[in-house]
């Protein structure tokens, strides 16, 4: 190991010789940028848990985009050094051949190990091998000609781009030491005479590495901040979006309430008052009656519009009550309270039916279940709701005492509320069937069509005579 004075002197000499001495200093920013990005990725794992962070390679874009520039710089500097060394006088043929051979070897080595991989590839053995080989070949070239000092411009960035700061610093120091050693050897003066190369080496290394650490920190922070700002902007956008959405929903809700509370209720009041007035109007004034009817019609039409608006403004996730569930609860209660083996089945594709259809089915089921409870003496009953393509059918069957349909038709007490049921079903354009005979149980079946098949003329439902309940004695067919 040469003495300090020798090394220092040789560094001084080298500086004198070339004027410009590439030091870690000049290369640090870019190298540190790569390092910082990598470390940022580590931070990012903790913060965001992103899968991307599991690969510790550089974030794509940081080095990748500029990678060709680094490659170009490497080959360029290598070419320039080689050419200038060859052009310089005083190289004998053997050394010239060795120089060309080494330069080609270095280019091949670089092509083999640097080109195919990411600039920031974090595989440590590969990186160390690559750097070791590169520095070794370069040192060989430097031994042949000082023009290759020029390659230091690219070597330091390579070191810092390939290794973490903790690994890059020792390698950079080694590179620095090699440089100093070469200078000392080149100068031919022992360190005991002149140790300024070592002094300069230590100084430049300390300053350079200090600068590298400092820049690393700064870039680390800057990357961190950029990410934070991006996150902040995303969050702010999401927040604004959510606020806009909430505001939109709130506005819709407010509008719906407003229409409901003022317009709709006011129109209802107008309708009711006009209806009352129509009642009180003397029969003589035909014109007044016509106007009144017109006003009533208009009010109803506008109320329809208000309903439509409120319907359109309703929240999307409006809870709907399920007829099947309501029926199931009724049947379950019957079973629990009477001990009858009661079951409820829904077949077909359940769908939301118009309120009047659903209410009619529920009411009929309630009455049929009440009959089962009171009169049937059944041990088993089943309710079946069948959704078909164009109609919905409800069956309530029990294995109880049954009854004589002829007696029922005679009309004692409306036949267990069957007449009332039948009227309701008829109003909706449906069909009610009761199948029973004494001792054979009772089955009530009601079928209601989909909307659109309801008989017209809702204004005079009382005028339509309710047909007798269609009773069919149970017969084996």
């Amino acid at each position: 190991m040469p003495g300090r004075a020798e090394i220092n002197r040789s560094v001084d000499a080298a500086i004198d010789r070339r004027r410009v001495r590439p030091a870690p200093l000049g290369c640090v920013p870019s190298a540190a940028a790569g390092r910082a990005s990598r470390e940022w990725e580590g931070v990012w794992v903790v913060a965001g848990g992103d899968a991307r962070a599991s690969s510790r390679a550089l974030a794509p874009g940081a080095w990748e985009e500029g990678a060709w520039l680094w490659h170009a710089a490497f080959y360029g500097l290598l070419a320039i050094s080689t050419v200038s060394a060859l052009l310089a006088n005083g190289l004998e043929g053997r050394r010239e051949a060795a120089l060309v051979g080494l330069a080609l070897a270095l280019a091949a080595w670089y092509s083999l190990l640097a080109l195919p991989f990411h600039m920031g590839d974090d595989r440590l053995p590969l990186s160390l091998a690559f750097l070791g080989g590169t520095i070794g070949l370069w040192y060989g070239l430097l031994t042949l000609h000082p023009a290759f000092y020029l390659l230091l411009f690219i070597l330091y960035p390579l070191v810092f781009s390939r290794l973490r700061l903790s690994g890059a610093i020792p390698v950079a120091l080694a590179l620095n030491t090699l440089t100093v050693l070469r200078e000392v050897l080149d100068s031919g003066r022992p360190l005991t005479e002149d140790w300024s190369p070592v002094r300069w080496g230590i100084l430049s290394a300390t300053l350079g590495i200090g600068f590298a650490v400092w820049i690393t920190r700064i870039i680390h922070q800057s990357v961190e901040r950029r990410q934070l700002i991006e996150q902040l902007q995303t969050t702010r956008q999401e927040l604004a979006e959510a606020e806009r959405e909430a505001g939109r929903l709130a506005e819709r809700g407010r509008l719906a309430r407003e229409i409901h509370d003022t317009l709709a209720q006011g129109l209802i009041s107008i309708v009711l008052l006009l209806e009352a007035t129509e009642d009180a109007l003397p029969p003589v004034s035909a014109t007044a009656r016509r106007h009144l009817e017109q006003a009533l019609r208009t009010a109803r039409e506008n109320l329809g519009e208000a309903r439509r608006l409120v319907w359109e403004l309703r929240p999307e996730s409006l809870a709907t009550a399920s007829l099947g569930e309501a029926l199931q609860r009724q049947v379950q209660r019957l079973g629990e309270e009477t001990g009858i083996a009661a079951s409820a089945t829904v077949t077909g594709r359940p769908r939301q039916l118009p309120a009047d259809t659903e209410v009619a089915l529920l009411r009929i089921a309630q009455e049929a279940l009440a009959n089962v409870r009171k009169h049937s003496g059944a041990s088993r009953m089943a309710l079946t709701l069948s959704y078909m393509e164009d109609e919905t059918v409800l069956d309530v069957r029990d294995d109880g005492v049954g009854f004589d349909p002829e007696q029922c038709r005679a009309g004692a007490g409306g036949g267990y509320g069957l007449r009332g049921m039948n009227e309701r079903v008829h109003e909706l354009g449906g069909r009610l069937t009761v199948e029973t005979s004494p001792g054979k149980g009772t089955t009530v079946a009601v079928s209601l069509p989909e909307a659109g098949e309801v008989p017209a003329g809702p204004a005079t439902p009382a005028a339509a005579p309710a047909p007798a309940v269609a009773l069919e004695a149970e017969e084996a067919r």
């Binding site: 009642d279 009180a280 077909g348 118009p354 009411r363 109609e391 089955t443 204004a459």
Partner: protein, 213 residues
């Protein structure tokens, strides 16, 4: 016999309109007006009306809860739901809670009167068919696929079961068995049960018992 009424609605204009209209009817008497569900319950207790005209959306206990309490505690009082919207899912809940029926608030007065009278007898009042429905009825296109129940019915037909036997097996009415068969015929494009069984066997919808494919 006079029918005593309680109007429960939080909108004064609606209460006024209803009262004005109902006061002119000889056999009706408006016994009171409540503005909330809770008030309706306490007024039923105090006044014992025959029928409560119940709005569904009210502050302090909605119409469904009020209906449930009234029907549980005062079985002599019937509840008729008067709603602004026939799309209200609460209608079904109110009927489940014991309301005898429902009507739109702007129903023609003769409908309202008839509904009140039948509610007073404990009978169901239904809104007359609404001319234009808000809930668009999406007519399901004639689907070729048989439902599980229809396949069940067809399998029993294939076994030679009569309608009565199928009805007994599925514990439903013969009428509904026939309705199922009509749908099955349409879907399979056949005219009778034999052809239906043949078509279903050909298409692999059902299998003859004991035979494997």
């Amino acid at each position: 016999m006079t029918i005593r009424l309680l109007i429960a609605d939080d909108h004064p204009v609606v209460r006024d309109g209803l009262r004005n209209m109902l006061q002119g009817v000889p056999d009706f008497e408006v016994a009171g007006e409540a503005t909330t569900g809770a008030e309706a319950v306490s007024m039923v207790e105090r006044l014992g009306p025959d029928v409560v005209l119940m709005d569904l959306r009210m502050p302090e206990m909605d119409g469904v809860a009020a209906t449930s309490r009234i029907r549980a505690r005062f079985p002599g009082t019937h509840v008729l739901v008067l709603t602004t919207y026939d799309t209200d899912a609460d209608i079904l809940r109110a009927v489940e809670a014991g309301a005898t029926g429902y009507l739109l608030k702007d129903a023609a007065r003769e409908h309202l009167y008839a509904a009140i009278r039948s509610a007073a007898r404990g009978e169901t009042a239904l809104a007359p068919a609404v001319a234009s429905r808000l809930v668009g009825r999406m007519r399901t296109p004639a689907e070729e696929a048989l439902t599980a129940r229809e396949i069940e019915v067809l399998a029993l037909v294939a076994k030679g079961a009569s309608n009565a036997a199928i009805a007994a097996e599925l514990f439903i009415s013969e009428a509904t068995v026939k309705t199922h068969l009509i749908h099955i015929f349409v879907k399979l494009g056949v005219d009778d049960r034999t052809a239906a069984v043949v078509a279903a066997l050909e298409r692999g919808i059902i299998r003859l018992p004991g035979r494997t494919r």
